[in-house]
Amino acid sequence: MTSSPWTRRLLAVIGIFGLVFLTVPILIVIPMSFSSAKALTFPPPGFSLRWYEAFFGDPRWMEAMATSAGVAVVSSLLALVLGGLAAYGLRRGSFAGRDWAEGNFMAPLIVPTIIVAIALYLGLAKIGLLGSLLGLVVAHTILNVPLVMMVMGVAIREFDPRIEQVAWSLGASWRTTVWKVMLPNLAPSVFAAWIFAFIGSFDEVIVTSFIAGKYETVPKKMFNELVLEVNPIITAVATLLIGLTVLALAAITIVLARAGKLKQTLA
């Protein structure tokens, strides 16, 4: 890109402003969660862990946490297997309707979430899974498959297909080739894809609100609490979620950077 120093400076200022605009609200939540005040005030008058105690001491929050974690673990693993296989088939296969199939798998990422939510609501209602844990797992799996496919698709495309072909010629079955040749080399990307899917499920609120029925996940409960009253426990939960996301992204960055795959995957 060619540009004058002034244009570049202007771009930098806009960029920094945008970044600050996006991160400041997130960062404000963190000191507020350690506030000793009874209501939401900024700056906090004193330091305390009362909102964390309230959060961990509340069985309903703990139940939501367990639901969120359980759904996230199961749906992210399912999405990893299904999305990984789909990515493999789409990258390696040549068959009629491949683009159509890829578009179909990627749709939940592109179509507005509210439309996916309504579609899942109607679909799950029809097969009697609306308001069930299984339905929630199914919905989150569908939502996370495109994330897995994106990460695994890049990894598989970068992996020389001739390495697989040689493995077959040496007598290795397709399954042995995947387990002993592909997965050990794609492990960093598999890990990254799984984390993305896990966080994707853990953070999900729109679809969950539509289909979870009596089940509460952490984001859904946060949303509901905010509607009723502004409870400072929310800031503690938000801080914990921010911490989890930052840690997860850091883990992905470290693993991919070590494998030298950071650029391709996030590009």
């Binding site: 020389d160 493995a167 077959w168 010629s169 040496l170 007598g171």
Partner: protein, 324 residues
């Protein structure tokens, strides 16, 4: 150890035939090269024999067994690619052990066989390295060891030396030929490098647009090409008009140069003299200007002709081979 037989092998992609009714018989222990420009279908042909691809029509036999419908796993073939295709997460030894492990050969016997294969490709002592710690030539030796350690019926080599620099390529050509002779394994090599084809093979199959142009011993294909394409693809060809409107080919080293007016011959002018070490290649314009320039190659001993000098050009009638 087996022979290979292709009968009418065809592979179509839509309306394009990457392999078009190809017949070939490779005898047990023979080294045959499939030679052709890129897009000639030579790699398609190799992938059909390897079982990575299925023919649209025709049959493929290895050791008399019809393997047309067999998977790559069932064919017992040693396969080597230009890109080496080593398993990056395994050491050299683990790479070579892989085909043995798949065949349930483990422990000390497997290790002994793997080390023996590494010795054959002169990689003793490097068994604990990773592929990324090896040079290109060493990586290709590992790929070769991995492809021969399980005593495959046939060996398929897809441009195996294409990624290496010239000197190393020439060294490895010699080694490859010796290794193939020692093992006596039927070998099919694919390349676009005519020098490699000429130096390595017992016979050459020249391929263009998926069609066989000629199958012959290297000298035969070089001196008696079946058609214009083979003549031009294998080295430099001078086309000369013959009686009855036909065309013949004369190779550069059969073209004699001499001083004008001494032994007869047609007079010409040296356009360019290219010094190639052992040889000098002359590009000559015939007097009268008709026809393509003639290329002559002469050993570089004593006096060489300079650009611009007039020379007399001649060749024996016996050195002309009619191509069309």
């Amino acid at each position: 150890m087996s022979d290979i037989r292709l009968e009418g092998v065809t592979r179509r992609y839509g309306t394009v035939a990457a392999a078009d009714n190809v017949d070939l018989a490779v005898a047990q222990g023979e080294f045959v090269t499939i030679l052709g420009p890129s897009g000639s279908g030579k790699t398609t042909l190799l992938s059909l024999i390897a079982g990575l691809n299925r023919p649209t029509a025709g049959r493929i036999f290895i050791g008399g067994r019809d393997v047309t419908e067999a998977t790559a796993q069932e064919r017992n073939i040693g396969l080597v690619f230009q890109s080496y295709a080593l398993f990056p997460h395994m050491t050299v030894l683990e790479n070579v052990l892989f085909p043995l492990g798949v065949r349930k050969i483990t422990g000390a016997p497997a290790r002994a066989r793997a080390l023996e294969a590494l010795k054959l490709v002169r990689l003793e002592g490097l068994q604990d390295r990773r592929p990324s710690q090896l040079s290109g030539g060493q990586q290709q030796r590992v790929a070769l060891a991995r492809a021969i350690v399980f005593k495959p019926d046939i060996l398929l080599l897809d441009e195996p030396l294409g990624a290496l620099d010239r000197k190393l390529r020439e060294d490895l050509q010699v080694e490859l030929k010796q290794l193939q002779r020692t093992l006596g394994v039927t070998t099919l090599l694919v390349t676009h490098d005519q020098e490699e084809a000429l130096s390595l093979s017992d016979r050459i199959m020249v391929l263009n647009h998926g069609k066989t142009q000629q199958v012959a011993a290297p000298t035969e294909a070089y001196l008696r090409p079946a058609n214009r394409f083979v003549a031009e693809f294998l080295g430099i060809a001078n086309f000369v008009g013959l009686d009855g409107g036909r065309t013949g080919v004369v190779r550069p080293e059969r073209v004699r140069l001499g001083p004008v007016g001494v032994d007869g011959g047609r007079s010409a002018r040296v356009v360019e003299a290219v010094y190639l070490g052992q040889m000098v290649r002359y590009h000559l314009a015939l007097e009268g200007g008709e026809g393509a320039p003639i290329v002559a190659a002469a050993p570089f001993v004593g006096k060489a002709w300079q650009a611009g000098e007039p020379v007399a050009v001649s060749w024996d009638a016996a050195d002309i081979w009619p191509v069309a």
